[in-house]
Symmetry: C2
DNA sequence: CCATTGTTGAAACAGTCGTACCATATACTG
DNA sequence: CAGTATATGGTACGACTGTTTCAACAATGG
């Protein structure tokens, strides 16, 4: 008996909170402004998520879920050559529409360096869909279980993203990827 | 007339504040704990630096200055081959002793993504000594004023640092650099 | 109706933050 | 000595933080 629970409310809040975090970043996140933007109250956020830390964890999980989904939708066909796939992924991840996700990745990484205790599964949590991405390049590896080539490919992508987000110099970063493709041949 | 100013105090405070920031990170930096650790008071920090923001700016400038100095001291000789220089720089920057600097770089980068207004000269401030570093590889460029190859080299280093600081997997990241060296030949 | 369970608002708590204000101490000149 | 400039300590302000407490309201079942 009693009033039936409404799990949909928490889901809806989580989705909109994730939008908010992607738009405003993780660094200065505060319950009151977040609640105001979501049309709810800090009281309800804690009611639904228990604590700010748990809310953040849930938001990051949701963001990761979204990223993985969007990536799966936009992966170049298996049939394409490794180079075509690399170019496709770079074009996708470096597009302005992905900027909020990219920023969040760097924010989480930096926060994880200062507070590792908040990210118990940091290796998986942060690099999860980067690793998924890296698996795409397994066929340019030297041996079947070579993890080194995917690591290098991912490092180039991450490093160029660092550069691009800092300097905004798209031409130079695009050409650096071209150069890497040449080296891979 | 009057009591003579003591500029050395500000310098000493700046040096020790830089130590503190390198040890504790930028993210949660707060005047009271900082002052306590330095044996001074928030009052004096503001007296010497004007505001927290100006103090942070000064600390970052000092950290950058130190990084450039340490780098200059440890640069492999000009005579060495590009590959030897790349390996030397990787060994230097990825050493545990450089971890505080590396963390600070990633923290500043992430903060700059969220608050670009605090880093008016971000392209220079953040990438300054990375660019200095990149200049070291000018001779493996395809043309005299090629900025693309240094960009790629720096991206590999930054990307591998991201990976190493996240996963702690030194073996895999070291081998990824080996692989990059092979590609460069 | 009542009892029960889920939901929500308003307010307060205990703390931290950067910073400003006021007094005082210190070290120098004349 | 007085005069004057720098250097400090102490304190308080106003705004914020995550979280708790208490009360009320809503929707169900009996």
């Amino acid at each position: 008996m009693g009033r039936p629970p409404d799990p949909a409310r928490r889901e809806a809040t989580l989705a909109r909170a994730t939008d908010y975090v992607l738009a405003h970043g993780l660094a200065g996140l505060s319950l009151r402004p977040l609640a105001a933007a979501l049309g709810t109250s800090p009281r309800m956020l804690l009611y639904d998520f228990g604590s700010k830390q748990e809310l953040v964890t849930a938001v990051l999980a949701e963001a990761r879920r979204r990223g993985a989904t969007r990536l799966a939708e936009n992966l170049p066909p298996e049939a394409a050559s490794p180079e075509e796939r690399l170019r496709g992924i770079w074009a996708w991840i470096s597009a302005p529409e992905r900027a909020p996700y990219v920023r969040l990745i760097f924010e989480v990484h930096a926060d994880g360096l200062a507070h590792p205790e908040n990210y118990p599964d940091r290796a998986e949590a942060i690099t999860n869909w980067f690793n998924t991405l890296g698996a795409t390049f397994r066929d340019i590896a030297t041996t079947p279980d070579d993890t080194v080539t995917p690591t290098l490919v991912m490092a180039v992508i991450r490093g160029l993203l660092f550069d691009l987000t800092t300097t905004g110099d798209r031409h130079r970063t695009d050409r650096a990827l071209d150069r890497f493709c040449e080296l891979l041949r």
